[in-house]
């Protein structure tokens, strides 16, 4: 699946987009994806532990226990500050 990062989270990780494969039959929640990405290093561990982090699946905000599919577009980002 495609994973996108925005704003301060993207700056901290130095990554705006990556591909994370999902094995056939594998069951992964948005929170599970977050845990998996934390293993990429100290910066990832720290940035993805922010409790205020938000997640969108296919361009709509969802709770962290949402199950993901391999063709999903997942986006992780800090609290929004528009308006």
């Amino acid at each position: 699946m495609k994973v996108l990062f925005f704003a301060s989270l993207r700056d901290t990780l130095g990554t705006s987009e990556l591909q994370e494969p999902l094995a056939t039959g594998e069951s992964l929640t948005a929170d599970g994806l977050r845990e998996r990405l934390k293993s990429r290093g100290e910066a990832w561990q720290k940035a993805l532990s922010q409790p205020s982090l938000l997640v969108a699946v296919n361009q709509a905000m969802v709770p962290w226990d949402t199950l993901l599919s391999d063709d999903d577009e997942v986006a992780l980002f800090p609290p929004v500050t528009g308006g």
Binding site: F6, A56, M61, A75, F77, P79, V80, G82, G83
Partner: protein, 159 residues
């Protein structure tokens, strides 16, 4: 016949409030039109010695594709609560200098309180759900703006 057209625009260019209002007022027979406009201002406190340098510019990042969907969803939820005529939401992105217009919400309705409530509702949800992020430049330094707890509280009163 009350029109229920929703117009959502995410754009780098400025907007003309007078023209947006005219469109809302002329495309319906709603007797009440409420507009909200947000502008880039410098709220650093000049009294504080420790205050950072004044804000000279904002940069607005967004999540293309999701922003329009998020704004349209917010307007639909407003329409489910109040009888509304045409609604326009415009949000600018990119570099915005001091005093620039950032956001416009315009709501027409046959009912004054519906127009006021819907405009407030749309702004409160826009501030907490629409994927925009502000980066502030002051004294040559840029930093991401922190979300405010007060914005979360203002949204929660609609739940």
């Amino acid at each position: 016949m009350v029109q229920t057209q929703t117009e959502i625009r995410v754009q780098t260019q400025d907007f003309d409030l007078g023209a947006e209002y005219q469109q809302l007022a002329s495309q319906s027979d709603c007797g009440a039109v409420v507009t909200f406009t947000g502008l880039v201002r410098d709220y650093t406190d000049p009294q504080k010695v420790t205050s950072p340098a004044p804000v000279s510019e904002l940069f607005l990042e967004h999540y293309p594709g999701m922003t329009e969907k998020a704004l349209a969803s917010i307007v639909e939820r407003a329409r489910a609560r109040w009888p509304l005529g045409p609604v326009t939401v415009i949000h600018r992105v990119g570099a915005l200098p001091l005093n620039a217009q950032i956001v416009f919400v315009g709501v027409a309705s046959a009912h004054r309180q519906a127009a006021f409530s819907a405009a407030q509702f749309i702004m409160d949800y826009l501030k907490t759900e629409a994927p925009f992020w502000k980066k502030e430049t002051s004294g040559g330094q840029t930093q991401w703006v922190d979300a405010r707890e007060s914005d979360q509280q203002e949204r929660r009163r609609w739940e």
